[in-house]
Amino acid sequence: MRIGDLIHMFFNGQYMLRILPELGKGLLVTVEIAALSLALGVGLGLVLAVIRVAISRKTTPWPIRLLNYPLVFYVDSMRSIPPLVTLVVVYFALPYLGIYIPRYWSAVIVFVLVLAAFAEEIFRAGIEAVPPGQVEAARSLGLSFLQTMVSVVIPQAFRIALPPLTSRLIAITKDVSLVSVIGVSDLLKVAKMDIARSGNYSALIAAALLFTLLFWPLMRLSMFVERKLKT
């Protein structure tokens, strides 16, 4: 009887099929937010990493070098505070200052900020792993700092950074469904709304399967990259 209840309430094929088109729409929103945040977050992370490397050079005048501290504070905050907390602060607290950001963009902004912080750390470690002799050689050949970065250091740093970068970024991106908490109509929100409407939990299980179908190949890809590039 219990088992019958369980199957009826959670693995009800009829419910799953009926809600599938709506879940598909939610899935699109999830993919959109994930892709947008990933692209912007990785880009911002790379830029921040280059900025941090540039301003911590010994030749930089000290007032500019102080800029390192706010950057470190930002990166460490994003790595220490749970993303859900940041999301809730941005969405529920900023309106008190008269700043209204639509849910969708609150979600994108928070995920970009979180992803960029992690990406910055990993890129910077990659840049620092490139032997300094290469930078010296490139500079003495007459390349500017930026040229050295773009055509000598970053291509190598990217290769070093790729394995930890993919696994970390996928682990964060997997949790974009947190945006359902502030009411963005992503896959999870669609499922939650159906549970509220029908009193049946099958939509949640269907959503879980869709999430897994979406992220499992990415996770395997990151493991493959890790194994391939490490040796």
Binding site: F10, V88, F92, S180, L188, Y201, T212, W216, M219
Partner: protein
């Protein structure tokens, strides 16, 4: 500026919300510690099982690890929360959160411990086995003591991530720090200061561990 301080760093409201926030903090810390112990234990158990190299068992473990690493944690929280009663358990919400965090965390820890075990030269376990130690004795006295050092950086990083994930328990209305802060900010004081305070508490609490992770990765090397 005045409006900013009034809404975000309102000392009066910080002071008045201290009891609510501390109650939430206590639950968050308790949840993190209990889940961490279970997740590490289950993860280690699965990694040792996988070392037996018994094919059907390994497929099951790989399926488990892959599935729960791909499933968003918030979805897992909701499934556990809704499904446990239908499986004949009606635990307090704290234990639903522990179950969800353990299932999720164990998948990550299994990976870490397995990689650690594989990093030990197979000649060592062959030598131990031919000296007459059985599989468990070999694991306990020969392999695992060497694994601890290699595993330390990724295990610390996993632990920090798991502790951060406890904030999701607020979604199934477990009264953790985030949940209490939302209560205080919304209904009680109508001022977002408690939310900002909660974020600061998370920052102060986890920042040393984030730094420790970076230090260990540099010192011992990321795996």
């Amino acid at each position: 500026m005045e409006q900013f301080i009034y809404n975000f760093f309102n000392v009066d409201i910080m002071y008045r919300s201290r009891i609510i926030l501390l109650a939430g903090l206590k639950n968050t810390v308790l949840l993190a510690v209990v889940s961490l112990v279970f997740a590490i234990a289950v993860g280690l158990f699965l990694a040792v099982l996988r070392g037996l190299k018994f094919k059907p068992l390994n497929w099951l473990i790989v399926a488990y690890v892959d599935f729960f690493r791909a499933l968003p944690t918030i979805v897992l929280f909701m499934i556990v929360y809704y499904m446990l009663p239908y499986l004949g358990f009606s635990p307090p919400v704290f234990w639903s959160a522990v179950v969800a965090l353990t299932i999720n965390g164990a998948a990550y820890f299994e990976e870490v411990f397995r990689a650690g075990i594989e990093s030990v030269d197979p000649g060592q376990s062959e030598a131990a086995r031919s000296l007459g130690l059985n599989y468990l004795q070999t694991m306990r006295h020969v392999i695992l003591p060497q694994v601890v050092r290699v595993v330390l950086p990724p295990a610390t990083s996993n632990s920090v991530e798991l502790a951060k994930t406890t904030a999701l328990a607020s979604v199934i209305s477990m009264p953790d720090l985030l949940y209490k802060a939302q209560q205080a900010a919304g209904g009680i004081f109508a001022n977002p200061t408690p939310l900002v305070t909660a974020a600061l508490i998370f920052l102060v609490m986890f920042w040393p561990f984030v730094r420790l992770t970076g230090y260990l990765e540099k010192k011992i090397g990321a795996m």
